[in-house]
Amino acid sequence: MGISKTYQEINERIKSGEAVVVTAEEIIKIVEEKGIKQATKEVDVVTTATFGPMCSSGAFLNFGHSDPAMRMEKIRLNNVEAYGGLAAVDTYIGATQESESEGYEYGGAHVIYDLIDGKDINLTAKAKGTDCYPRKEINTYINIETINEAYLYNPRNCYQNYAAAINTSNKRLFTYMGVLNPNSSVVTYSTSGQLSPLLNDPLYRTIGVGTRIFIGGTTGYVSWRGTQFKSGVTRDNNNLPKVPAGTLALIGDLKAMSTKYIKPAVFEKYGTSMYIGVGIPIPVLDEDIMRQLAIKDEEIMTSIFDYSVQEGPKPILGEVSYKELRSGKIRVNGKEVKTAPLSSLKKAREIAEELKTWIKSGEFLLQEPIETFPTDNTLNGLNSTKKGAK
């Protein structure tokens, strides 16, 4: 009979300070030395982490009511537009929204960062004025202490694998995958590979709605599957996809976050984005889970997409392992090409260690998902059609 543990058993061990917690990098060596069975017996929790740029990020804020009250419609935070289509003083500030005066060098991500940093933020708003909300204009300053709720909400994060990018054209390209020099001279990629959450739980057995996580330096939760959740892709013998697949929607309290784990990002001639530090613990429930956790960078493959192709599907120029990508050089169509990451492995390691400390100290318990994700989800594209056309 195989080994099996429950969430309750693991949480009891965490509470009593006896839980054995290691990172998704450390587990690889343990399994190599002791084998799957013994590692499953000995280890209770494995921490995974990522620190990558994710455009689909933002924060919900509630400013509190002014006197006389106002139903804010056109809202600016440090001259960056925030959404005015919610209730009177609620808003959503999106990470990629650009400043109306400074462009993408200061965007929604910078506003969120400055909020976490405790800085004063200029709030201006306009409204038509109603009988119940007569005020038509406001120009004031807020900060993280003066506002009510402030929570980060990521409609999409933690991509389960992502494309590697190359540029076969003869022009330099400026993309969300960084600056891509021409003539296939560089391949960029974005992952924490063997440390990445969804590459360690590829079939979403323990990461689902309600999973408690580390986000931006505090506790948060997986709130839903992420947008563009595409679990129904071809997988290898280890259940791993070779193309972008599952994603997660995440939530966490902005007021408890740290600027150490959230950073605004600027991609030249593309726009603003945001680095978010995420850590997800995986309970070692059985040997199958351990088998997935033991997978190394050399076994995780991704596909190299040509970003110079702007219409139609981007051609795939080959497959490559993350070990090869991390080596700094790979071969693409017989040519030696330099490689460069966009997501910080160093930061991801720091987060995996930090989460390990939290769990070992007994302050962070594991939450079993309330609902798990489907493994057969597909995506729709967007057609440009006329009304009523089929």
């Binding site: 960084g178 950073k263 680095y275 330099k338 966009l342 910080s344």
Partner: protein, 133 residues
């Protein structure tokens, strides 16, 4: 000796006459290469300083006491290690591998290899690389 130094003035120190101190107190020769100092705003001053090595060091200590950050400039770029997240995006554009990630996934900069092309300045997503020369 001659040394290029970048002085960073925090907002509240922009009125301090630091160049005056360097010349009058320390008798250093100061050749201002570039400067942007506005009242009540963060500013910088890039200067080539000439004088005895120990005297320059003392003058830099004096600047630090005045809350002015000093950086010795050895290449066209300056990496702010506090801001850098070690993502590696800058290494994508560095054709001579002057910028690279070491085995601990930490960014390293080899000033001898740098060609001063400054492509990394715009490639850095967290704007931790400054064009100083």
């Amino acid at each position: 000796m001659k040394q290029i130094i970048l002085f960073d003035f925090p907002r509240e120190e922009s009125r301090h006459p630091i160049v005056n101190d360097l010349i009058k107190i320390y008798d250093l020769s100061v050749n201002i290469l570039r400067a942007s100092i506005d009242f009540n705003a963060r500013g910088f001053l890039l200067a080539e300083i000439e004088g005895e090595e120990e005297v320059i060091e003392k003058a830099m200590e004096h600047a630090k006491k005045c809350n002015v950050i000093t950086n010795y400039v050895e290449s066209a770029i300056l990496i702010d290690e506090e801001e850098c997240v070690n993502c590696g995006a800058c290494t994508a554009v560095c054709v001579v591998d002057a910028l690279y990630l070491d085995e601990k996934a930490t960014l390293q900069f080899d000033t001898d290899k740098c060609l001063d092309c400054k492509l990394c300045v715009t490639a850095c997503p967290v704007r931790a690389i400054r064009d100083v020369l």
